[in-house]
Symmetry: C2
Subunit: 456 residues, 2 copies
Amino acid sequence: MAENPAEERLRLLSEAEAFKREFERKLTPIECLSPRSPAVFISVGGGELGDLALTAAGRLLGGANGGVRTVVFDRYEGFPAQDSADAYEIFDMLNGDMLEEAVKKYIPDPDEPHAIYLEIERVDTFRVCKLGIEDGYRVASTPYGPLICMDRHMTKLMFDRLNLPRVEWAYAGSPEEIRKAARDFNLPVIIKPLMTSSGHGTTIAHQWSDVEEAYDFAVKHARGKGSEVVVERFLPELKSQGTEITQLVVRHFDGDGKIVTSMLPPVEHRRPGATYHESWLPATIPEEAVRKCQESAGKIAEFIGGLGIFAVEQFYVEGKVYNNEVANRPHDTGMITRWMLNLDEGAVQLLSTLGLPILKRDLELARSGVYGVAHVVLAPKRENHREAPVKCWKLWEVKRYMEAEGYQGDLWYFGKPAAYPGRRMGLAVAFHENLEEARRRAEEIAHYTEDRIFYG
Amino acid sequence: MAENPAEERLRLLSEAEAFKREFERKLTPIECLSPRSPAVFISVGGGELGDLALTAAGRLLGGANGGVRTVVFDRYEGFPAQDSADAYEIFDMLNGDMLEEAVKKYIPDPDEPHAIYLEIERVDTFRVCKLGIEDGYRVASTPYGPLICMDRHMTKLMFDRLNLPRVEWAYAGSPEEIRKAARDFNLPVIIKPLMTSSGHGTTIAHQWSDVEEAYDFAVKHARGKGSEVVVERFLPELKSQGTEITQLVVRHFDGDGKIVTSMLPPVEHRRPGATYHESWLPATIPEEAVRKCQESAGKIAEFIGGLGIFAVEQFYVEGKVYNNEVANRPHDTGMITRWMLNLDEGAVQLLSTLGLPILKRDLELARSGVYGVAHVVLAPKRENHREAPVKCWKLWEVKRYMEAEGYQGDLWYFGKPAAYPGRRMGLAVAFHENLEEARRRAEEIAHYTEDRIFYG
């Protein structure tokens, strides 16, 4: 892609659009679920988002004897979704040969009912795309979908092609190109690797002297090798007067066997840095903003096509909605759906990608009259970047605290066997009719919990 | 127990009461959950009720890496909770030697944190009791608890000892003794085996000529061998003016390390026969009746003691509450808690029996403004009693139906690999602000689903 990266990516977008039609024509709903020949659902990546999808197979459909066999891959022993799946493999999913072999082990015949869900970006996405294009594997949403969404440059070119409002941005291949772009945007600017997930490698450069370091940081944390970054204009009004939205949208079959696009309620969230921090339902943005968020998200989902969830990250500032990024999968911010919707985003991903039914009502709020706020529980930041095993954690102390404070909420402890500094270990949830109070409580439970997990 | 069954059982009740104090003194909360030495939770029996408890370990606590390892036993390959547990064994749990061996395999040292949950009654309960008394295993609620509650005669003697209102009853060892008792009660009478679960072996005898057959039916369906049955006065007003309640009550540690008794909201239910048919939350009985239901249930839970859930079956007729049976475990009717409470009864059983925290708010309603009704999905009744394997089931048709009718609800398909006639295969759920409408809808979804499961 070195010579003309934009042109190369535009070509890939056209290719994706052309292939989508062919791909969708071959997709069919699963009318019969059979224990004798269960459909196979593979989650490539088995963190908490994979876990949500896999447990849904058991809790809704009765698992393999209900006609859906679940398989999960991840790179280390003891990952959260490992014990939720019917089968698992442990290997480096960036290794395309191993990935292809593992997929073909569990789905020898791609004509049999199945779905492949890329739960993370640290995967050989090109190989997975190839498996979809050449061998007919049902990669969600489409074989090209994860490829488009993991590449920030390609995502932004897609926004332009669809005439979607977005933040100003530029492609840069060196600190010099960043400085050129930043001169047009004014400082500060946001510098991101072309490919990462969950905000890794992102820096806000406030001064000219930050740019070099930000570039190196982005390139170092990029998912693939390469020298490319994306520079975005910083919206100063966002923190003071705006808010951030994740608009979840799902492509699924309707009762007539047609693939349709349905909206989940927009999730609102805040983050002090670049990674997921807290999110809630319902969102507080006005009706008109919801309409704009959903209109953009719908266009993106329909452009990429196929089946499954898209999570569109958006900014809402002063009546305007800016599209910023897209994840071709359930999203960290969407984990609050577990407490607030009739179906959580994991269940929605499982059902939709397999060609099983989703009803409009499944996507509606289950709790009324309260805000549900989820806040991350993180492992402590430490100087060295080494992993520390979890020694123990003290649920009792957390619950005593919640009882004493009169907080209504929940705690989801992921069960990760070890933590690098700042790793997400769980989610604290609080319910309250007042949003600010619910946020405060969720944060307090989260921080209290962080001090009750012991490492070493 | 042949000579004087009542005396023998009263002696056992006293023994249970004395042992309870000793047993409770040794129970401790689990302050630290550790992946290196996880607490072990064994579900003896792995149907849908076991599944609820086991999935909670993963969904709340992160499973074995969160510090709780789950184990499940059942008698056949492909049981619902098999794939939810970290380990499983398949054997006949009425075989005491095998049961003891399996328990000791997973919990070699009873001083290590653990809990044993008898999910079904078809278990060598005496051997489990002995494991609790002699080896110090933490059988929920207490080693004697399941023994008392599975024996209808002993349960009724306990009601009398606690001065609890109950339906008139008599013990009978022959059809002749039934006829004698029935003369005092008037016809019809209800004839039940001394020990079964879920209403198996129960008959309503409307005529004198029914008695012989009812007796034979009860004895044949009894859990153990023996000639004993229980005869109960039929409450004619129950069907016309009364209702049936399951009062779930849980013994659990509070924040000060004291074992306390907490109430779940009463579950209301109806059944055309003796087995579970439909149940809902919230119950429609008046405040004063709730108080009575909970007062009785509390006394029973505190008499038996220990940790975990008790499900007290009660009748509410014309301002009066009659206690009828007790299950020392989560209850079929309580499965609706999965949709209506902050924690479902499986999670409550898991947490409470392990000595992990339950907060009052965990036991409160999660949905407001609607009734949630669950209705059983049954395998067809057939002439022969042979098992038929499930060929396939059609989720799409059920969901198309729900969509067309505008029904809000859910379907939990258990994933049982085969069905004997009338076997429970799943649960249909409907939500509606009007109870009768919610009941009608749940029933319709259930019956519609029944015709979309194919056997053979």
